[in-house]
Symmetry: C2
Subunit: 166 residues, 2 copies
Amino acid sequence: MSSKLGSMTRWLSDQEQRAWRGLLELHAEVWTAVARDLQANAGLSLGDYAVLASLSEAPEHRQRVTELARAIQWERSRLSHQLSRMDKRGLVVRRECPEDARGAFAEITARGLEVIAAAAPEHVASVRRHMFDALTPEQVEALAGISASVVERLRQSSSEGMNGST
Amino acid sequence: MSSKLGSMTRWLSDQEQRAWRGLLELHAEVWTAVARDLQANAGLSLGDYAVLASLSEAPEHRQRVTELARAIQWERSRLSHQLSRMDKRGLVVRRECPEDARGAFAEITARGLEVIAAAAPEHVASVRRHMFDALTPEQVEALAGISASVVERLRQSSSEGMNGST
DNA sequence: CGGAAGAAGTTGAACGTTCAACCCTGAGCA
DNA sequence: TGCTCAGGGTTGAACGTTCAACTTCTTCCG
């Protein structure tokens, strides 16, 4: 492990602190507000919505479990539990996969399609209300750029040599 | 407030979609990366860190539970559970409050102070690595502004008339 | 003073996520 | 063919958060 730090540690500038705390706060506030709306309007969690949205756009209205997991960036285990719950509620079903007997498809049901179709406009409006109505077009563009920069760099650095955590 | 939606529902523009998905992704990636580092380097969760940081900066190294909850923007119940866990680990203690016998103080222990002092530099470096190294000063400034805009507006609108959920 | 209303904080149950173990099938190879 | 290893997916336990109920104390007001 990097034995010493201390003197070489550069603290966050004021601007950076505001950006950092702001990001956390922004995310928390918007997330919970949007989640609350979605729950109230459609009885869905954001997790439900992500799954339904991905499946509804997929060919045949179904996706391999791992593929779906990658699409919404969840771990397979988490998704598996989620699918079980949504299955019980009649929003999705599991289907066997002919090409690979280990695999499984997640498929959105007719009811699932209705539910998300009904939920989507309100959900979009909710995101708009809680987030974009407060921003100028320039800010929206900046945010898109910022996210892209950070995410891209993070992806990169996690593939090359691991940095010093120890 | 908007009683009807439907035909008037304006979908998100491309830019907005990228900003929205980007924000979620940015947050998720950075959050988990920073949390992983903090756990590995100091054995702390981000929740632990938030509590310790707030207490370590407070006068007398202690805060009323509700005050602390407000400072880190947690619900009281969540904080109460968290304090119990941290108490068991010797990072904080609960103290009775003389002025209000219902109340309680959360106080950081000597060990808690050591732990966060040791953790802080690495944590800051981690945030810098995963986030700010990817951004220009202009982007940092923009992000700070964006967060402020959205949070401020959200705070406002949640005090005035509730919007239409039903 | 006495009683109602409400704030501070905790608790336990329900729910969701994470982690590690596990099962089953497919792929590579001797 | 038979063996090992890797990938797809699920499961159950452990952990953290949320929600509603509850206890205790304070405040307000008749």
